[in-house]
């Protein structure tokens, strides 16, 4: 993050010429609706997708067929039920995990973390299941790939550190964050979509990144653009997005 984040003095009376260029662009509602629908379907919001099809009078795209199973898989991963997630993925298409060993390993490691979490939750718990799982499922895979090995070692050290929480390394707390499950779940979702020949990543996601990339680039080469380009999300949600009091819509880095 650079200093440009704190451009609070953006209330300049004269309008920046770049703002006019922005205002001159008229995105088509059809395009926006398409991107929204694409997002709802590919990221797995089936009920919203259905409603949106009705309200906006557009058709559900083809990827809609897999949406239910993708939602179930996501739910299972989010809830830490990796076993049933893996079963469901294999039901859908066994090739997905066979061909993507990194994804398979990530899932198994997530399962190991859940086992460790379970067996260290009480003082009397037994850590044997976690150890067995690690040696039978993860160790053979880790032997083939140094990155896997490093991940496995880090995960196993949770066994030692977990009982006295609060003094954990950031590396270790990250393993316990829900965001890890979310990341794995979205990777699985992308893999399923790609396996169906669909575009893996929702366009919305690409678009948000493109926006960020373009702004960063434009600032880097010194283009004449205003110090901040707000999106105006506040009128729905005034709450600051993070603890720093920075409103979420200032995508300035």
């Amino acid at each position: 993050m650079s200093s440009s984040t704190v451009s609070v003095s953006a209330t300049t009376p004269t309008q920046h010429s770049f703002q006019r260029k922005i205002d001159d662009i008229k995105p088509s509602k059809t395009d926006i609706n398409f991107v929204v629908m694409d997002y709802l379907v590919s990221e797995g919001y089936p009920r919203a997708a259905e409603k949106f099809a009705k309200e906006a009078n557009i058709r559900l795209p083809l990827e809609g067929e897999s949406i239910q199973s993708r939602v179930e898989i996501r739910r299972a991963i989010h809830a830490g039920d990796i076993d049933s997630a893996i079963t469901k993925i294999n039901d859908l298409n066994p090739q997905i995990l066979d061909t993507d060993s990194a994804l398979h390993f990530a899932l198994l490691r997530l399962q190991l973390i859940e086992l460790i979490r379970a067996c260290t939750s009480s003082a009397t718990a037994d850590i044997t299941p976690a150890l067995n799982f690690a040696s039978s499922q993860l160790a053979p895979r880790a032997a083939t790939n140094p990155d896997f090995l490093k991940d496995l070692e880090l995960t196993m050290s949770l066994l030692i550190f977990l009982p006295e929480t609060g003094t954990l390394h950031k590396e270790l707390t990250d393993l316990l964050e829900p965001s890890l499950r979310r990341n794995v779940a979205s990777k699985v979702n992308e893999a399923i979509l790609t396996s169906m020949g669909a575009r893996g990543e929702a366009r919305m996601r690409s678009l948000v990144r493109l926006r960020q990339w373009a702004e960063t680039k434009a600032r880097a080469v010194g283009k004449d653009i205003p110090p901040s380009l707000p999106l105006g999300l506040q009128d729905v949600d005034e709450r600051p997005v993070n603890g720093n009091g920075e409103t979420g819509d200032v995508m300035v880095q």
């Binding site: 770049f18 260029k21 922005i22 205002d23 662009i25 008229k26 995105p27 088509s28 509602k29 059809t30 395009d31 926006i32 398409f34 991107v35 929204v36 997002y39 709802l40 919001y45 009920r47 919203a48 409603k51 949106f52 309200e55 996501r74 739910r75 989010h78 809830a79 829900p178 979310r182 990543e201 366009r203 919305m204 996601r205 690409s206 678009l207 948000v208 990144r209 493109l210 926006r211 960020q212 990339w213 373009a214 702004e215 960063t216 680039k217 080469v221 653009i225 999106l231 105006g232 999300l233 009128d235 729905v236 949600d237 997005v241 993070n242 603890g243 979420g248 819509d249 995508m251 880095q253």
Partner: protein, 663 residues
Amino acid sequence: MNARRESWARVAAGSAGSQQSTRLPAFSHLMNNSTSHPNRLSRSVDADGHDRNNMSTSWGRGGTLPSYPSQNGYWHGLGGSAQDMPPFFIPSYLRGAKHAEKLQEAHKAKLAAQREPRSAHTSNPGSLSTSSSSVHLHKMAPSYRGLTHEVIERVPPAFTDESVSPWPTRWNEADRFSQLELEDSGRLAKFSGTQKTHDEAAAVRADFPMPRQCGIYYYEITVVSKGKEGRMIGIGFSGPKVALSRIPGWEPDSYAYHGDDGQIFSNTTSGKSYGPKFGTLDVIGCGINFRTNTAFFTKNGHMLGTAFRELKLNMPYYPTVGMKKPGETVRVNFGQEPFAFDIDKMVQDEKAAIQAEITRTQTPSAASGGEDALIHQLVGQYLAHDGYVETARVFSDEIVDEARALANDEDADIPYRTAVEDMDALNRQKIRTAILEGDIDKALKHTTAYYPSVLRENENIYFKLRCRKFIEMIRRCGELNAQCHPEPTPSSKRSTASTQNNRNSIATDEYDFEMELDEQLGVHNPPPGWDNKDQDDDLEDEDDMEDKEAKSRRATDETIAYGQELKAEFANDPRREVKRALEDTFALIAYTDARESSLAPLLEVAGRVPVAEELNSAILVSLGKSSSAALERLIQQTEALVTELADDGGPGAFINVRRDFLQ
């Protein structure tokens, strides 16, 4: 509502002599007063050929309209003026590029502009008696009159965008050394003078510089003949002022690859060894990558590697060839034909690399859920903002479910929840739905009830709604009429049926609400003619022909009554755009079935959308909210930023936001 405005499809009905007989007598008193320019027959519609152009379907429907000639064919057919503008082409590697789209639009705009004076000539009042509807069609020129009905969704930016840099299309007749002759529409350059001394040569530049906005620009030449004595041919590029009496590469701001020794030259007479020699029948390509500021050459489809680096950023570089032996001849391909070298792949690779960079981009504030949270907000706010209330609610639920599953804990802090339950969103949705269903009365009623100030303060929107109501009534008359005289065109029949179905289903859905609202408001007193909805519904249930004719007459009477009312209300309005809109709207009644007329576009259901959007925006503004959703702004910013990054040939040149990210 944003300011994108399309031209009115307009006809001053009074001038259409042949239509007099079909005009309903009852309307004539309206007509005579409302058409102030009896000779003006300006039928205008934009010539944007975009896929989603709603107009294109409506043009076809009438069956009487001549098909729109394809760009190239059209120009060849025009004879004399074809010289002014050669056929438009897009080099293969630029297909789908933003710059190519812009150029194409600019080209279309020029075509339209050139057509204008011609058609003005042919469509003087005297010639109208033949077939007014087909005459109009030639006059597809843009107009910028104030009050407009939007008929298509995309703006044709070409009309405002004169700054789009064209790419080279031919050698420039006016920018050649005199002993160099051009043939084949400027594609063939031939040395016809006597042999030059060592220092002298004859060169020619292309008509336009290589546009930086392309990101990569590439062209090829074929050596048709290297002449009898040698092959002193140089291919490359040069600035606009470089002397043409010298072989390219020898002068400052001039860069070239020479066939006699295979060397490359930049700004000086001493070359560097680079590639093989080339001669008769060899195909030599020359390209600049503006992102990296490098230039390269190819021979017979093979890349020869980077030739020049650190090209000047502000210099326009024109494709240039030079030669010095009699008989030397080269033919150029600026993209009119397929290239020998696979330049498409090179451009694709460049695009892929940039895409990969974008994919790796991290959205900031990752701590708060980063990208996911941002997207949730964007989507949620868009849905609520644009009045997709149900979707917004369900989406919010699903997000909460997801967050809950993830937190694995009922008490967990749910990071996201939109305030979509707000009444405004529901009200705005109702108003929008009403307009989209063609029920303008209902929209007016709701707007007056919930946002009384909006119509007062936005008189033009009020006026447009009133006009739209008239148009809807005309539509209704047309439908009834068609039922009385069943000779339907299949397509219009279908669309009629579907709108009516829609209307019926909505009518039942909204029934309770309507009652409620009427009670709430006490007796809301609509002006006469506003509340014909119930009658409409009756009509659809009737099958009796006689009865239908009666209904049809009644609908016509009501329409006239409403038209008079509209006229009474706005006739003295001094604004020109109001006058024009009135004329255009009233012109509709000149036809027994306006759907068959050249005014059909005015009746298009799609015309409801902009009215609905404009009203929605006005309501939002009145509530102190932004008139466009954050997601919309994000797209606008992205487009603007990418354009900024494309203008100097930077990475933005390889991105077409709409094509690559929105479709």
